[in-house]
Amino acid sequence: MIETLAQKEHKYTREDFSSDQEVRWCPGCGDYSILAQMKRILPELGVKKENIVFVSGIGCSSRFPYYVDTYGLHGIHGRAPALASGIKLANPDLTVFIITGDGDALSIGGNHFIHLCRRNIDVTVLLFNNRIYGLTKGQYSPTSERGKITKSSPYGSLEEPFNPVKLALAAGAGFVARSVDRDPKHLEAVLLEAAQYNGTSFVEIYQNCNIFNDGAFERFTNVKTKFDHVLYMNNDDAYRFGREHEKQLVWEDDRFSVKEWREKDADHAEVHQPETISDARAIALADMDGLDERPLPLGVFRKRDVETYDTLLTKQIEEVKKTKGQGDLKKLLHAGNTWQVK
């Protein structure tokens, strides 16, 4: 939940959120862009620096907290959701971000991730998906495509990757979105919306690891190809794409297919409504990987208004206090059958 700055007089700038730590990613790494966009949106939140906590696991991406001048915990591999849940539940006034990687969140940390989505604790999860284990120097990850040749799969990996958006949707996350490092404007907008959402918000960020998996998302970032292969989903907009918005997705029975856009479609075309979208439709969107003629959706898939775990907990405490009164230590110790020895 976002606590607005009472004293609006001092509005932060990006620089206010730069820590004194040297940034240690490889030159050219997509993480730089994500960090830059984050520093852009933080001043927009209207939250005091001291009320922000960045929590991460282990991985290249998970070094992120060091570079932001807020409170931070660089956790252990896969377990950022656990740390973050404790932080947020202990102090619901804090604004909590989880920074994680595809290995961190979906390999070792998969269980914490789906439980976080289910519980709907109000934290924002940014998954830097480079489809590779960066920090350990290039093994395939749970989002690597089948057949991937890496150090640990010299003859090709054998398993289907996870679809993180689909998994988050099925696990129950209220807010599910996707963006990409090389589209700073889009990324900035999505980050801001995610951070402002009340509940577990999940953003998958396609991130280029130029050392171990360079060009993994080239198709979706290169100006030559991206317009034909990316669908930018916008609230209340039709599902149009193509360089001149000349194509559209239409819902046919139980899937989206591509049609040409004609002027007259404007009146009746289906528009994207993440607040009310059905699971079936959201899943159908998530199913499109941009590898066939159908585009890869970027933007917010779903944004549901549901009560958060942290609010429910606070309410429960208040209700119990209403009926039982604020706990009294002396009474507590003396409860039950007691007897006096003289």
Partner: protein, 607 residues
Amino acid sequence: MENCKHLEQVTIRFAGDSGDGMQLTGTQFSNTSALVGNDLSTLPDYPAEIRAPAGTLFGVSGFQLQFSSREIHTPGDQVDVLVAMNPAALKVNLRHLKNNGIIIANSDAFSARNLKLAGYTENPLEDDTLAGYQLFAVPVTTLTKQALVEVPLGVRDKDRCKNFFALGITYWMFSRPLDVTLQWIDEKFKTKPNVAEANKKALNAGYNYALSTEIFTTSYCVLEAKSQPGLYRNITGNEALVLGLITAAEKSGRQLFMGGYPITPASDILHYLSRYRHFDVKTFQAEDEIAGVGAAIGASFAGALGVTASSGPGIALKTEFLGYAVMTELPLVVVDVQRGGPSTGLPTKTEQSDLLQAFYGRNGEAPVPIVAAQSPADCFVAALEAARVALTFTTPVMLLTDGYLANGAEPWLIPDPDTIPKIDVPVASAGQEYQPYARDPETLSRKMAIPGTEGLEHRLGGLEKENITGNVTYDPDNHDMMVHLRAEKIKRVAGHIPRPELQGDAEGPLLVISWGSTYGSVFSARDTLAREGKTFSWLHLRWLNPLPDVLDDVIHNFKHILIPEINAGQLIRIIRDRYLVDAKGFNKVRGLPLQTGELVETILTYL
């Protein structure tokens, strides 16, 4: 009560099917005995199965208690009175009974089917099996049914009252008042008056049956124990531990946050804590033990007192995060309710076999303070101490109890919370210059800065830290220094914990060193020997790490050192290493408290 035969102490064991309500019966007997003023100690002994099929050997549920007019701390080795609600209960428990001990058996339950399930070919109530014991075969089921003819309840519901009938018999036999239990029944079955009625009738009927028939000739009484004056209640270890934690939170001005995951026998800590929302206690049932401890660490970082509790396999899972708490130097209490291991082991049995894991069970050099409770009620103090050290030294602390302490009960002298000292937590305030790893020169603890505090933004993590600044560094000499600083900090705890009292002479033939729940057995052994005019010196350790200075002073003054443990020898490893004394162990790994008798025998060989 005048015409009763006086006894100093009695051990009674109620045993029956899991569905027979034996835990309840035992608890009622305990509470009544406590209110009568006896000292007492209990040992529930239930099967791993939830509801095993009726009549089977593995489905037998037992509850043993010793009550006494002297100070005691064990549930008793051997049993004076065995209440056996069916043949399986008799079969399983007979070996615990003393020669010439009393058996009260529900003869109605000794049907052909039940006998077969228990593996008896003949009815033991009718052949020579029980020669050498005092057998009272009572048709408890029939008598209960008769007593309840007029109560408008179904047959099965009536049948369920038979444990109260049996309890009634034992109340007469040991001259206990009925009112505590009668009141409890009224309270418990407020909404089911017929059930209340039936249970009360059954209790009275059992009592009257014993009083009026001539089967039972003697009734006994066990006088009040001379306890320290004050207000008492009966308490189990898990209950006391929970109260200790809540007290610590209150005394330190911290919110109590518990991240847990159910596991026998630690689950009740989660259960009990979850009741105290009005004390601002937040319990978080996590998806597993790793998430439980992780959330607790997160909460500590956010300013709470983070606690997690588990047992056996669950503790094993927490080790990675424990190392993280060592590195980030955040307060954390990890409760390990030890149970029979290794692996899943004996989940419902007690053991002391996680001590070395507590010392060494982490990657790298990751020392943590370790404290152990010595009796059910003592879990209160142990928990309070654990939290105090965790908070003042900004460190994870391992708090060891065990299955016996967790579920066992004893009278607890309720402390006045106002006399319990406040706990000072080293927290930096806004406006101060803040270095995350600057240390208090005395305790070596670092000051925490709690999120929400303006200007103290900083980052922690599991990579090696530069001293003072807390920045990540791979510098070789800094690492060496930090390894030693972290170790030294834990050593400094020694100056901040009560010095354990040496019982007996400061030199002599034998020093017994014990820890945890074996306290009771050693206490009884000493008491037993004292009556024979024999004695030995005894040091019971509450803190295992760091070890108290007193050991340095005295340990070399004894010819023999004996260390009794419910494991294959763990504290002994630490003591031998540290003091180079040829300590011997007394070790029984049977999932049960040590038997006083066996311990006494062993001690005698050293005197």
